[in-house]
């Protein structure tokens, strides 16, 4: 019986202290870590069309179309297929592709999740956080890159 009493006392204690740990989501949006990885943002001005992101992507989420002079034409990214591993941001030498903290996105069909470069450009920062700045102290992911063969394209 004492164990039962203890169990019931514990839950009653929680009920009476009145604290809640859930939040009212849209009004009370959670703070996310500066390292959080959300929807991508793409900058065509910065991009040099080196196609490293397309290469490193583990599940072919990024598709790049170039013309015969290797100028970039299209940059498509299926944010519904993406696994948010951030490897594209890691390989990008010019910070043209970034993962914002923005995790709020919807669409009516799966196809609508294929973002082209315009849509990717218009992805807003989450709470105005620029990941480039917020992650600045730790952006040295490629430190220690070795002497092995470097496979650009």
């Amino acid at each position: 019986m004492i164990g039962l009493m203890k169990s019931m006392a514990t839950t009653m204690k929680h009920a009476l202290d009145g604290s809640t740990f859930t939040v009212e989501y849209p009004e009370d949006a959670p703070d996310v870590s500066p390292r959080f990885r959300g929807v991508h943002k793409f900058s065509q001005e910065r991009c040099i069309w080196c196609r490293q992101c397309e290469n490193v992507c583990p599940n072919d989420t990024i598709q790049i179309v170039q013309d015969d002079k290797r100028n970039g034409e299209q940059y498509n990214l299926h944010i519904g297929q993406c696994i948010y591993c951030r490897l594209c941001e890691e390989v990008c030498p010019v910070d043209a592709i970034l993962l914002t903290q923005n995790f709020e996105f919807t669409a009516d069909t799966k196809d609508d999740f294929v973002y082209n470069k315009e849509q990717l450009k218009n992805v807003p920062w989450y709470k105005g956080i620029d990941p480039l700045e917020s992650r600045n102290p730790d952006r040295g992911a490629w430190i220690g890159e070795g002497d092995g063969e470097v496979d650009y394209q």
């Binding site: 164990g3 203890k6 929680h14 959080f36 948010y84 591993c85 730790d138």
Partner: protein
């Protein structure tokens, strides 16, 4: 150091050199095929049982960790990865080639019960047939599947029909059986207590279960094949997070990292090892909290408060993990040769947050003991139900909290040290009850041990000299391990021994990538625990196994 195991020197623990083993096996051995981790003996396909039982009885290799099957251009091959529960650093591989045209090999099931499911999987995916196997059926794919997807000649464009015959009631026979008074019951694949898509084919006598057979494969996502299509250096690492997706991500990543680093001979800086150890133990706490939460859900019923309290504590760990890795579940934080990021700046804030969590944890654990373990009804429900004797656990290759709840003192963090564990002060938790209660208790006590480890890691990291904070070693951008190098390496994940077998073929992608999932082996023990018990006990036993279907089915 509390990591020394109690010394019991007997025949079983004596380490034998490969030559001594070859001598023991005598003319059973027809060749050698050594792996990076262990000597490998090639034997004839009709001497599997003889070889395995000689190694088990006379040399003490009592743990069949994994059966890997693969197809080469000129042969099929099954590899039995053997270890010792008393000393898992002693390993041996038994390599069984089989003919390409007629891939038949003797089953190891009579020697190790765990080979049952492993060989069924090999049959299912590769196509090797095992002689003398009690029940050689497909296990992951539907019974109607044509071909074996991981074999070389598999035609992946061939359409597959995998539906049940239309309008036929598959239960009709069981329904109308006038002879027996038992009832066939499908528990799952959509059932509140199966923790995912697991299907238990249950035969009931009243409320008592007389037979239960887990039917898995509903969440098979070709994880092994996906890894075989990714490059060692980057593309494989995001996927281990998705095997045991219950926030045990870093533990899983470590399994791949350990195997690949040993394969490619990459050194990991000590500083990165400490960060890895800390992150992995955070994941273990998160995983065990969910195990506790769902077990309470199974035994108490929905609306139990324990579930939400445990989820709340898990959220706290996940906040820390988010600060560290940038994600709450799918971390992708490890890299070969280290980790991707140093601790978040400002470091002091991260340390103080972590310490706050550690300070608050004993209070929470106390609360769980009040809520759950000291509750008389809970004890009535869980003590002496779902019994798994230690020798049965070993025979089935059960590991992790399931084995430790049966008094099997086996923890790879201590017995096969990796990371920074052997430098830290912590204890391996075991309980001798062999029942549902013990398995829960092991998890709850392991949470406290993990907290001890995290505390020590935080102290170490805080005092680490600033100029020695090397988070990654020098790893080439493209890794091409030697052709035909083979390795099997395991780590202690949240659910038990998570092992990875990799065979390299000289390219930048693995030729064979095999996952030894602890849940897969642990789930096999369910019939042993459940037969003869009541339905609620089967549910409790299933909850105490703490399986994640993502890892069972891969």
């Amino acid at each position: 150091m509390s990591l020394e195991r109690p010394d019991t020197p007997d025949d079983a623990t004596i380490e034998r050199t490969p030559d001594e083993l070859a001598e023991l096996l005598g003319d059973l051995v027809v060749g050698r095929d050594d792996h990076r981790n262990a000597p490998g003996f090639v034997i004839r396909p009709d001497t599997v049982q003889q070889t395995l039982s000689r190694l088990k009885e006379e040399a003490g290799y009592d743990h069949l960790s994994l059966v890997t099957a693969q197809e080469y251009e000129n042969r099929y091959e099954s590899i039995y990865h053997l270890k010792k529960f008393d000393d898992p650093t002693q390993e041996v591989s038994v390599v069984v080639p089989a003919d390409t045209d007629d891939p038949v090999s003797e089953s190891g099931e009579p020697v190790f019960r765990t080979a049952d499911w492993h060989e069924r999987e090999a049959y299912d995916l590769i196509g090797i047939e095992y002689d003398d196997h009690p029940d050689l059926r497909r296990i992951l794919l539907p019974e109607t599947w044509q071909g074996h997807p991981l074999s070389i000649g598999y035609d992946k464009d061939r359409p597959q029909i995998a539906t049940l015959p239309e309008h036929a009631n598959p239960l009709e026979d069981h329904h109308r059986d006038a002879e027996s008074d038992t009832m066939f019951l499908n528990i799952g694949p959509h059932h509140p207590a199966t923790h995912g898509v697991l299907h238990l084919k249950t035969i009931l006598d009243g409320e008592q279960v007389i037979d239960v057979e887990p039917d898995i494969g509903y969440l098979h996502r070709c994880e092994e094949q996906m890894a075989q299509n990714g490059t060692y250096r980057h593309q494989i690492m995001p996927y281990p997070d998705r095997w045991d997706y219950i926030s045990a991500g870093l533990l899983n990543e470590w399994a791949y990292a350990r195997a690949a680093e040993d394969l490619a001979e990459i050194e990991v800086p000590e500083y990165a090892q400490v960060i890895r150890t800390m992150g992995a133990e955070m994941c273990r706490i998160a995983a065990h909290m969910l195990a506790l939460a769902t077990f309470a859900l199974d035994v108490n019923g929905d609306f139990t408060a324990t579930f939400m309290y445990a989820i709340n504590d898990r959220e706290r760990v996940q906040n820390l993990l988010e600060d560290l890795t940038g994600q709450r579940l799918m971390f992708n934080y490890f890299r070969l040769g280290g980790v991707v990021w140093d601790l978040p700046e400002p470091r002091e804030e991260f340390f103080s947050k972590t310490r706050d969590f550690l300070d608050q944890l004993p209070g929470s654990v106390e609360e769980y003991h009040n809520l759950v373990t000291s509750n008389e009804i809970f004890q009535m429900r869980t003590i002496d139900t779902g019994i798994l004797p230690p020798d049965v656990a070993k025979n089935y290759g059960a590991t992790g909290p399931v084995a430790r709840g049966s008094g099997v003192d086996y923890d790879l963090r201590r017995d096969d040290p990796y990371g920074y564990y052997d430098e830290l002060d912590w204890d391996v938790v075991t309980e001798d009850g062999c029942d549902n209660y013990s398995r829960l208790l092991v998890r709850m006590r392991e949470v406290e041990e993990s907290a001890k480890i995290i505390g020590q890691c935080v102290d170490l990291l805080e005092d680490w000299p600033e100029d020695e904070r090397n988070i990654q070693s020098n790893v080439p951008r493209t890794l091409r391990p030697d052709d035909d190098a083979e390795i099997y390496r395991a780590v202690e994940a949240a659910k038990g021994e998570l092992g990875i077998y990799i065979r390299a073929d000289g390219t930048d992608k693995p030729a064979r990538f095999k996952i030894r999932s602890p849940c897969f082996s642990n789930l096999q023990t369910l019939p042993e625990m459940a037969n003869g018990e009541y339905i609620p006990d089967v549910i409790a036993a299933l909850g105490s196994l703490d399986i994640v279907l993502g890892e069972v089915d891969r």
